[in-house]
């Protein structure tokens, strides 16, 4: 185990995979000479050269599609979309092509490509640069969408994504890049499609992914300390496929759930999780499933407005308190 940042885990994993397999190459805007907007690819151009670390023109549709074609001929492109907001310029290539090619050609062509991209707000980047639109991709059969919340998963899921023969959208998060955690030395890929119970508990299940899974762990630890609450945390890790079984198993045990998401609530990922709980654990629920999600506004620039729009730790704690109160027979222990 080594302690490192989420950013370092991504960088080291990209580098290791490029050393392991010369069909792996990187493409994206400003990833070479500029070393990436968020410096994930720092040093890689110098080490691997322009053939394998390609600075592209500002042409998301063009280079996302080029990755598809290269993948169809057996390469393993890893595309960096500077932020997930810009991936919408490539929506046709990702949704209409990457996700469809294996199926619509009757299984004759594989598209082993990865699109790495950060989502997230909170940096005063305004409406067009603060979105969480992973749902657009998670909605589409044929896509795989993974969203690591910690450095160990950043490594294990990126290994899995690169070695997978399907298009994988790999969701990063601006607020997580500098977070630190233990990362195993071995290069065992994670299993795409599997959630993780990152903290066992019996009073309530907190469900989240990416930054919100990170926040869920923080809140659970804090409430264990301050309130003696025993909260279980489910980190979805994979948004498509969605591991409903792990969610249901947890809620059948705890009888209450709060779903955390950085995206907008209406039609969001949390809606799918809540509907799944309704389908699989209705009789086990002691309170309605609560969702904590971003306010439904285009993200404002001014700091107080941005802060108010984003789900915070206090929002999560309040939702937990209200859910436990709704359970009724339970009381929050003294000192709440």
């Amino acid at each position: 185990m080594t302690i490192m940042t989420y950013r370092q885990a991504l960088h080291d994993t990209l580098r290791a995979e490029m050393l392991r397999d010369d069909s792996v190459f990187l493409m994206g805007e400003e990833i070479g000479v500029f070393e990436g907007s968020y410096k994930i690819t720092a040093g890689l151009l110098a080490e691997f050269g322009e053939k394998r670390v390609r600075d592209t023109p500002i042409a998301e549709e063009g280079f996302a599609g080029a990755a598809i074609g290269a993948a169809m001929l057996g390469l393993r492109p890893v595309v960096e979309m500077m932020t997930i907001n810009f991936s919408m310029l490539a929506l046709d290539q990702i949704v209409n092509h990457a996700a469809k090619i294996y199926g619509m050609f009757g299984g004759q062509a594989r598209v082993p490509m990865v699109i790495r991209t950060p989502g997230g707000g909170g940096q005063q980047l305004g409406a067009t640069h603060s979105q969480n639109i992973e749902l657009y991709y998670a909605f589409v059969p044929g896509m795989k969408v993974v969203a690591p919340s910690n450095p160990a998963d950043a490594k294990a899921l990126l290994l899995a994504a690169i070695r997978d023969d399907d298009p994988v959208l790999f969701l990063e998060n601006l607020a997580l890049y500098n977070t630190r955690g233990e990362v195993p030395e071995d290069d065992t890929p994670a299993e795409i499609g599997k959630a993780a119970v990152t903290r066992a508990g019996r009073d309530l299940t907190l469900i989240g992914y990416s930054r919100m899974a990170h926040l869920a762990s923080e809140v659970a630890a804090q409430l264990a300390e301050s309130e003696g609450l025993d909260i279980e945390v489910v980190d979805l890790r994979s948004l498509r496929p969605l591991d409903r079984h792990t969610i249901i198993e947890s809620v059948r045990k705890t009888h209450a759930a709060v779903v955390l998401e950085d995206d907008w609530l209406t039609y969001g990922i949390g809606a799918e999780v809540a509907a799944s709980i309704s389908d699989g654990a209705f009789d086990y629920l002691d309170a309605p499933v609560r969702r904590v999600a971003m306010a439904e506004v285009p993200m404002p620039y001014a700091k107080p407005l941005e802060t108010a729009a984003l789900p915070s730790k206090d929002d999560v704690i309040a939702a937990i308190g209200q859910t436990l109160a709704a359970v009724g027979y339970r009381t929050i222990p003294a000192g709440a």
Binding site: F25, K51, T56, P57, A59, E61, G62, F63, A64, G65, A66, A67, I68, G69, A70, A71, M72, L73, G74, L75, P77, D92, Q93, N96, H97, I101, Y102, G103, M104, F105, G106, G107, Q108, A109, V111, P112, G142, D164, D165, D166, I192, G193, K194, D203, S238, P241, L242, D243, R244, H245, R252, K253, H255, S276, D279, G280, A281, F282, D283, Y284
Partner: protein, 354 residues
């Protein structure tokens, strides 16, 4: 360049190939009206010389990406007509196993890397295939065909720019039949001479008469040679669409005079008459070609009609190439979960043991 005898043989082959496309497409149109073919069905009628000329210039190892008007291209890549027809019929023996239909044919063996249904969707992908060839140091070339309307979309610019920047082995071919569905080139492109767009990317480009398969072949050969040497190329082939945009389009936007002119200039008849006048073909030879092709097309239709429909049990076989945990295999009416047993302890106490 073949000698005179060789060239004559090549012209006869062009004619025969054009007849195959013509009769195949006519049969497809009939099958469509008989509801044996579903969805959209875009035909190469009128574009036979363009298709034949282009495809004859490719090596078997070169790659083709095309759009949804693709039956003729599939045939000319060497895919058996019966497999193309079976795909139109949506059967298991179709070239895409019944998953693609008219717009999405694919055959790696014959290096047809797809018909694509979204206008221009194939351009970035074809560019990436050329990138993969360049990455590996191969000597194959990618040909990427499109309609004239495609020149207006962003992917056209992005792809030509990337191909030129990276010196990729690709030939972009615009099949200019003057019409999107009903919108003319003049109404959709500020520069209606589409090959001139190449200049914006410092890309060599040319325009060729799509009524002359030999001229198309020669222009394509030059373009391909350029691409093989790492200089991508833009080729514009001037054609006419004999019928509507698709089988169901009555083409009411065309005047009676226009329809008359199109019939008078029917590329297959004009080319046949030219070869006959030059002593390369005669009535007997044409009749023999028609008879051979009629047999092939009839066999294709019989084969397609006899091929099984895909088994519904295979519905989930092609969502993912790498099997994945928790992949949904739920049919529309099925619940997400089997009904759960009612909880044994519906009101557990906080902190109680399991």
């Amino acid at each position: 360049m073949p000698g005179t005898a060789g060239r004559d043989e090549q012209l006869r082959q062009f004619y025969k190939d054009m007849v195959l496309i013509r009769r195949f497409e006519e049969r497809a149109a009939r099958a469509y009206t008989e509801a044996l073919i579903g969805g959209y069905c875009h035909l190469n009628l009128g574009e036979e010389a363009a298709v034949v000329g282009l495809m004859s210039a490719l090596r078997p190892t070169d790659y083709l990406f095309t759009n949804y008007r693709e039956h003729g291209y599939a045939l000319m890549r060497g895919i058996e007509p019966k497999k193309v027809m079976a795909e139109l019929y949506g059967r298991v023996d179709g070239v895409s196993k019944g998953w693609g239909g008219s717009m999405h044919m694919f055959d790696l063996t014959h290096r047809l890397l797809g018909g694509y249904g979204i206008v221009g969707g194939q351009l970035p992908i074809a560019t990436g295939a050329a990138l993969a060839i360049d990455y590996r140091g191969g000597d194959e070339v990618v040909m990427c065909t499109m309609g004239d309307g495609t020149a207006a979309i962003g992917a056209f610019h992005e792809s030509l720019n990337i191909a030129a920047l990276w010196n990729l082995p690709i030939v972009f071919v615009v099949i200019n039949n003057h019409l999107g569905m009903g919108t003319t080139v003049e109404k959709s492109s500020a520069e209606p001479e589409l090959y001139k767009r190449g200049a914006a990317y410092r890309m060599a480009s040319a325009r060729v008469d799509g009524f002359d398969p030999a001229a198309v072949h020669d222009a394509a050969a030059e373009a391909i040679a350029s691409a093989r040497a790492g200089k991508p190329y833009l080729l514009e082939v001037m054609t006419e669409r004999l019928r509507g945009h698709s089988v169901v389009d009555p083409a009411k936007y065309r005047s009676a005079e226009e329809v008359k002119r199109l019939k008078a200039n029917d590329v297959l008849r004009v080319f046949g008459e030219k070869l006959t006048a030059n002593g390369i073909l005669d009535a007997d030879a044409i009749a023999a070609i028609e008879a051979d092709v009629a047999k092939v097309v009839a066999e294709a239709a019989d084969f397609a009609a006899g091929s099984p429909h895909p088994d519904v049990a295979t519905l989930f076989d092609y969502t993912y190439a790498t099997p994945v945990a928790n992949d949904s295999r739920r049919l529309p009416g099925q619940p997400l979960f089997e009904p759960a047993p009612f909880p044994q302890t519906p009101f557990p106490q906080s902190g109680a043991s399991a």
